[in-house]
């Protein structure tokens, strides 16, 4: 419940926050994984 006695849903904020950090992290991991593949080529 917030200050007005209404229950606040944080689901959208949670999704947006994880996208904010997840997208650059996955991009960086993908770039590194591509580079790492050179070891086995």
């Amino acid at each position: 419940m917030d200050g007005n006695g209404t229950k606040k849903d944080y689901t959208l904020q949670v999704i947006l926050a994880w996208l904010l950090v997840g997208i650059p992290l996955i991009w960086g991991v993908w770039k590194t994984a591509l580079n790492a593949m050179k070891l086995f080529q």
């Binding site: 419940m1 917030d2 200050g3 229950k7 606040k8 944080y10 689901t11 904020q13 949670v14 926050a17 994880w18 904010l20 950090v21 650059p24 992290l25 991009w27 960086g28 991991v29 770039k31 590194t32 994984a33 580079n35 790492a36 593949m37 050179k38 070891l39 086995f40 080529q41």
Partner: protein, 452 residues
């Protein structure tokens, strides 16, 4: 600035705690850039000459000090600011870290533009290093408080971000420099300014999102165990008192030796793989090997810290040391067998445990000393990282040089190093085995405990 104070970030009871890990990741993904700082080294040796280094250009050894100063100030600021951080809360600490880290880049941009190296030392080294230290420890206690049921997993997520930050920073920095590069400018100044602003904004978003739980908050369905598990206290040890316990110093050595074993290898991974497999691992493939080790390092932070919630911290470190000794002992054999896959697998697991050591230590400290001062105690323990940052590379480099100077083939020059690393891990294992619960006399009495 009251909106930064702890009192103004107490979450409502319905707040979703899964907003806190991304807030922590906003900070750790940025400060993890430190591992990628070397991408600036070569361009910064050609700021005047552009095509080739000019006589007045900076040298690589002189530039190497930027990172070293930053790591020293990481340890110092974490040790000094830990107590302050526990008092003021995570938002003020994260915002301070954003100002220091982003500001460090801006000051360094001035140093590059005016070609004054001391300004870069001051900017990225001192100011940025303080941002690294304060930023690294700022979300740890908050995460542990939000996830009393899974403290290892929670801190593992944040510290995984520190390992992953370089993956973003490295290609981003290279792209920015190529974007800003002209015939008369290497593009480093503009890249520093851009990164300073981007990191400041991103870290500030984390500071805006973060909340601390209300004093009586508990996760739904969670009840603290009536009888704490062995080695897991429900008492509080003050940070000053923690420094008087043998447990602090045992854990200091546990972290230091685990990190020493990993960091020395990480710094030499490229050269080592090429020298142990001459003609089979090229320079390009070796770069891929380093990238793969970094992925294991990052994944290990989350995997091992999460695992420690189920098997206990002491057992997790026992695995790090026992498995580490075995793997270091068989690495020379993998080279003799000519098995690149086994070699990579051994080092991958070793580096996963290196990262796991960083990520599991906050929860270990929480188990031993309680939640109240875990941020400050963690900050002081990170001096072990600074020490390992010196021990590890020096050990690997000097032993290798000694071996080669005494006629040992390059392919075999790392064998003794591996056995010494195994020996260090054995000492670390003994330190870990000696960790016992803190004596009752070190616990804070109820009347001395500060209000939450």
């Amino acid at each position: 600035m009251s909106i930064l104070d702890r009192e103004h970030i107490v979450a409502p009871m319905t707040y979703n705690r899964w907003l806190v890990p991304p807030a922590a990741l906003c900070v750790h993904l940025c400060i993890g850039q430190a591992y990628a700082f070397s991408v600036f080294n070569l361009p910064m040796t050609k700021l005047i000459g552009i095509a080739e280094p000019a006589p007045d250009d900076w040298s690589i050894p002189a530039l190497g000090w930027i990172f070293s100063i930053a790591i020293v100030f990481l340890g110092l600021s974490a040790a000094v600011a830990g107590t302050w951080l526990d008092r003021v809360g995570p938002r003020k600490a994260m915002f301070t870290a954003a100002c220091c880290f982003g500001g460090g880049f801006l000051v360094s941009a001035i140093g590059v533009a005016t070609h004054q190296l001391w300004i870069v030392y001051l900017g990225y080294g001192v100011l940025g290093g303080c941002g690294l230290g304060i930023g690294y420890i700022s979300p740890v206690k908050t995460l542990i408080t939000w996830f009393p049921d899974r403290p290892g997993m929670a801190t593992g997520m944040a510290i995984m971000g520190f390992g992953g930050g370089a993956f973003i920073a490295s290609p981003l920095s290279v792209w920015l420099m190529s974007h800003f590069k002209t015939e008369t400018d290497m593009g480093v100044t503009a890249t520093f300014v851009t990164l300073g602003i981007v990191y400041f904004v991103f870290m500030s978003i984390g500071a805006v999102i973060v909340r601390v739980p209300a004093a009586n908050w508990r996760p739904a369905g969670y009840t603290p165990p009536a009888q704490p598990k062995k080695l897991m206290t429900d008492q509080t040890v003050h940070v000053d008192q923690a420094l008087k316990t043998p447990q602090f110093y045992l854990l200091w050595w546990v972290l230091c030796l685990n990190v020493t074993a990993g960091i020395g290898v990480l710094g030499q991974a490229s050269a080592m793989s090429q020298e142990m497999f001459p003609g089979r691992i090229t320079a390009e493939a070796a770069a891929g090997f380093v990238g793969l080790l970094s992925l294991f390092n990052m994944a290990g932070r989350f995997f091992w810290a999460s695992t420690s919630d189920f098997i206990g911290r002491k057992n997790t470190y026992f695995i790090f040391f026992a498995l580490g000794i075995f793997l270091y002992a068989i690495v020379p054999s993998t080279a003799h067998m000519g098995s690149i896959v086994l070699f990579v697998l051994c080092y991958g697991i070793i580096l996963s445990m290196y990262g796991g050591g960083f990520a599991t230590i906050p929860a270990y400290l929480r188990d031993i000393f309680g939640v109240q001062y875990v941020g400050a105690i963690h900050g002081r323990l990170l001096t072990a990282w600074s020490a390992a940052g010196v021990f590890g590379p020096v050990l690997v480099n000097y032993i290798r040089e000694y071996q080669i100077n005494n006629g040992v083939a390059k392919a075999d020059a790392y064998t003794v190093t591996m056995y010494i690393m195994a020996g260090l891990l054995l000492i670390g294992s003994l330190c870990n085995l000696a960790v016992k619960a803190v004596h009752d006399r070190h616990h804070l009495q109820v009347q001395d405990q500060p209000a939450q």
